[in-house]
Symmetry: C2
Subunit: 321 residues, 2 copies
């Protein structure tokens, strides 16, 4: 693939490819056939060679890995055209001993997962990715990985597309107060230490709003909707993997503080009046997040409450206190 790409649309001879890869011309031909099956449009002319006409619009490992500057996150990518859920696929890989940083990417999820067993609508055009991480920390700290992934997504959306992406505690990335990305962190752990976490990221990328169920349309947006065009999902994933690795290294060296600092600079939740529904309902002002990523809410009576998670509605304009 790299050889074909480097030639920028002109032909590479089978002999040259064979020499470069140390393979026979027949093996090269078989490999070209396999690439064509995956959706690559590759022209071949007798005696002249092969030419890449078009790559499929898929998040194939060749597409994502080409130019990826990371040491371990996304160095091994498992790509699915359709999967039940990337979280489940990644859990299976982790249980079988997959390396830290292994990523599972799918074009479509049949049963994409959100928080608490909810569905994450996953039509073609989105980015559905789960990354295996193995931080040495207690299970109580796992929410920090959700915040970390959120920071990575928001920064990449700001940088690549100039969108004002904001982080809504605990696990959403918003543009214009509509959800553009959701994050789900799951783990397998002993009581005191995490074995591995699976950080799942779903981004509404090249999806029309009309492709969402009507009940979600008021609260959802997509890159296509915001930008009026499709984006390169491979580039998006590549930048995201790079930003995740940078932040994860910061977290491993510096602990929660630097991550929380970046998160606080990007959140729409702190300072807002919030209504949080979980087992009960909590209303108050979100004033801080603590070292485990829990939200500190100041109640009407002046006391404060620590909230681990819940469904949050923000009420910036209508004071409830």
């Amino acid at each position: 693939m790299r050889a074909l790409r480097e030639r920028h649309g002109s032909h590479v001879s089978g002999a040259e490819l064979a020499a470069r890869l140390g393979a026979s011309k027949v093996a090269i031909w078989k490999h070209i056939q396999a690439l064509r099956k995956e959706g690559y449009d590759i022209d071949s002319k007798p005696k002249i060679g092969y030419r890449l006409v078009a790559a499929p619009d898929l998040l194939l490992p060749y597409e994502v890995e080409d130019g990826l500057r990371t040491d371990f996150i996304g160095k091994e990518i498992h790509h699915h055209r359709q999967v039940s859920s990337t979280q489940e696929a990644a859990k299976g890989l982790a249980a079988e001993g997959a390396k830290e940083g292994t990523a599972v990417i799918a074009e479509i999820q049949a049963r994409g997962k959100g928080r608490r067993g909810r569905e994450w609508h996953s039509p073609a055009g989105g980015v559905y990715m789960s990354v295996i991480l193995m931080p040495q920390m207690s299970p109580a700290r796992a929410p920090l990985l959700t915040l970390l992934a959120g920071v990575a997504v928001a920064k990449v959306l700001r940088h690549l597309y100039d969108l004002k992406a904001e982080l809504k505690w605990p696990n959403d990335v918003m543009v214009d107060d509509r959800k553009i990305c959701g994050i789900l962190t799951e783990m397998t752990a002993e009581t005191e230490a995490v074995d591995y976490c699976i950080v799942g990221i779903g981004i509404n990328a090249n999806i029309k709003l009309a492709d969402f169920p009507s009940k979600f349309r008021e609260t959802t947006t997509s890159l296509k909707e915001e930008l009026g065009k499709n984006v390169s999902r491979a580039e998006l994933v590549r930048r995201l993997l790079e930003e995740m690795e940078r932040l994860y290294n910061v977290f491993r060296e510096g602990g929660p503080a630097p991550i929380l600092k970046e998160w606080k600079a990007l959140t729409n939740t702190l300072g807002a009046l919030v209504r949080i529904t979980d087992t009960g309902v909590i209303e108050g002002r979100a004033v801080d997040v603590d070292q485990d990523g829990a939200l500190i809410v100041e109640l009407a009576d002046g006391s404060s409450k620590r909230v681990i998670a819940g469904d949050v509605s923000l009420r910036r304009d209508k004071p409830i206190l």
Copy 2:
């Protein structure tokens, strides 16, 4: 099995068994053959019937379930003559959707697991059991299940064998300051809520001290060693499942407080001078456990430190402060 047992060693006719079970006499005969294969000594006399001579000394589901008074814990038992580890087997079952309370019991573990990937020596004669629980709680609370299981073990050892079993934080049951049982709680969870916990219990039951590696002999004991005889492991497991269910129901209804109260009445750790080795070393006096099961240690400078887990040595007789 129940029919054979009820007859207390006299014969039951094949016709009676067939009528009782609604099966053919041939099917009964096949079932008897299967029981014999599992180790049951069953006598058969033409025209008279079958007689149970002896049950094998194994924790077969028939043996444990006979007389078990629980609603869900141990109602489904998976028995292995040998297994890599009951924790791994139970994890597999839980991932496949096993019911809460499902237990995995093994006679021998090839790679019995202790905390932090350590080995749990698991020769024949011990009790190696993992129970699947699905409490609705945050991952930070999982250590409470370790404490809960410890209370169950200590109470059963006290009740059945009149041993002064004590709980050493975080996860050991001690007799005469030697380890007789270890507990390991693992979980699969979202950041804010546990999907399922696997509570593993290893009891040195009918094991001679000589069967332990020499490095463990000074710090280990067994029921056989303490009592000078073998115990009925089936009875032990049955009582343990019952006590676990009782405590688990208390926990689900009343939260951590009543469990912690029972734990505090049985621990040797609170009030003691402790040295805890984890990533660093902490020395001080253990003064309390909090609502998540973490140990509160009072340091020499009067400040206190919250410890989630670690290797603890108690120094009741040699003050270090």
